[in-house]
Homo-oligomer: 361 residues x 2
Amino acid sequence: MVLGPRLPADIQTPCLMVDRDVLEQNLVAMADHARNHGVALRAHAKTHKCFEIARRQLALGAIGLTVATVGEAEVFAEAGCNDLFIAYPVWAAGARAARLRALAERVALRVGVDSSDGVEAVARALAGTEAEVVVEVDSGHHRTGVAPERAGQVAATAQRYGLRVAGVFTFPGHGYEPGGRKQAAADEARALQKADAALRQAGLGAGLRSGGSTPTAALLIQGALNEMRPGVYVFNDAQQVELGAADWDGVALTAAATVVSRHGRDVVLDAGSKVLGADRPAWATGFGRLPDHPHARISALSEHHATVSFPEGAPGLELGSLVRVAPNHVCAAVNLADVLLVTAGGAVVDQWAVSARGKNA
Amino acid sequence: MVLGPRLPADIQTPCLMVDRDVLEQNLVAMADHARNHGVALRAHAKTHKCFEIARRQLALGAIGLTVATVGEAEVFAEAGCNDLFIAYPVWAAGARAARLRALAERVALRVGVDSSDGVEAVARALAGTEAEVVVEVDSGHHRTGVAPERAGQVAATAQRYGLRVAGVFTFPGHGYEPGGRKQAAADEARALQKADAALRQAGLGAGLRSGGSTPTAALLIQGALNEMRPGVYVFNDAQQVELGAADWDGVALTAAATVVSRHGRDVVLDAGSKVLGADRPAWATGFGRLPDHPHARISALSEHHATVSFPEGAPGLELGSLVRVAPNHVCAAVNLADVLLVTAGGAVVDQWAVSARGKNA
């Protein structure tokens, strides 16, 4: 389904807009999905970086939030979220060690680890606190994480250093390939179960099996995971649509853009990579999509220019037209903006700060 | 030449660092280059977005600044820069029209145009002010701008609407291709001369022939341009080095990153696309470069992870190591950061706000 344009006429482009109703529908659907499968939802806040959305996720039943960095954890702790998982192999050195400790003294904190050296640094930082570590395992994305059969070893090291081990986690990022979602969901389930068994064998029946990503969320394998950490689902984006993990009517965030130049069938929009982000996987059909012009493609992108090509016969766009653009990767787009304009019924009704923007350290 | 590591030991990664001495060397070299060729330097501030660097550019002889958006112009006007060129086909509608007018009443302002409709909107916004328009021409990049022979037509329209026409400008962005710099510089010169002739034919001997980009800056064709607008040269980046437009000892900005995970010969750094930006032209050898490890390549990049691959036999990197990463495209990286740490002699000596960060509208 293709939505009609919902563009407030007085908007100053380029900017990011969140459709309040679509957002709410996405939030409720994922909360229900997790509940129906008996899986805890620990939504990843790196996507939205907003207090308003975090609070709504928690109100709808999320057990806590996932974040990617100590800086993001600090921002959401400040906002009153008291159960945080930094799903990243945090290197707890220098000032970061002190910040991590301060967090652990303030909220229920879990921290990712994927090496003995990493465990050692985290143990020094968190000694005597209630914080727990979670061992990252590689389920096929081949980025961070140990092989599932080695999870017991890392967990045993953590325990030796006096750290509590909550369990294991993985990110099945190889689901970000056309046709790859089902295999990634199966790999994720297998890796978590294998790693959980490795922990039990090491005498550490910790129990947490945390997985999840938006492309694999709908494909939950009953009993394999007991926690999921999707992030993108709140907004969705062009990638999720092209992967088949979302429909256009599930895309809650778009950039508002103006046609500033026109050359034959091509037009240039004022939303470039400094608004949309430059993410473009090889399989994507362009640098983002125009939900209201499904045949159009963004064929080139620079900092302040998106070149949009229309196929032969499709109606083009006049100079000065307002259009909506779905970024390829919404997490990257949000991290470029200071605020999100909240729309309902075609009007701007609110404005939310992107409070954790740029908190990468 | 490969520089030795210059990493303050107490730095919290990931973050962006500017080497003060390399920056100064780049600023002086471009100012001298422009002066020696009798070409005015109107440096593009979208790269650095910093008051401190803008002021130094002006002190070294830049006649004014180039910016990409009305928002950037407002920030630099606030900082005291009173001669600004928005080198973009600004769509002067709604609130933007009023902002443009307020700028024109405050500073010497030039605005890009590339269509009659665009001219009409700008004329309404700027009527009765001293602001001038500059006609954008396409010199081969095929993004915005009219064909050089049509420049006279757009200029005549502008004059009919009562606008002063300063001349013509172009961006030879097709110089961002390996081996493409020389051709792009020749195309730029030809397009500006042709467009200038078209203006004279229309009875508008306006005179400004503004070009320039960092890849073509060194290849100035005597007499063709009388103004240049390079931006990236202040910092340089992995793209400029791979294009042959800069050496590693001219790279003034790098991200400081920590090795957080290690798998065989590959390591993962904590500077991902939310720090480096995701720009990756097809010809680039990866998602950025490690100046101190010239054989390493960033083979994969996600939001908080850069996967670095080393060739057989090269020394790898230990967990916890600090490294420098040159982004592919420094303008994108700077626009992700709130501050730049200024280093000298291996220590942080200052901190500059990225004041125009995110000012895309």
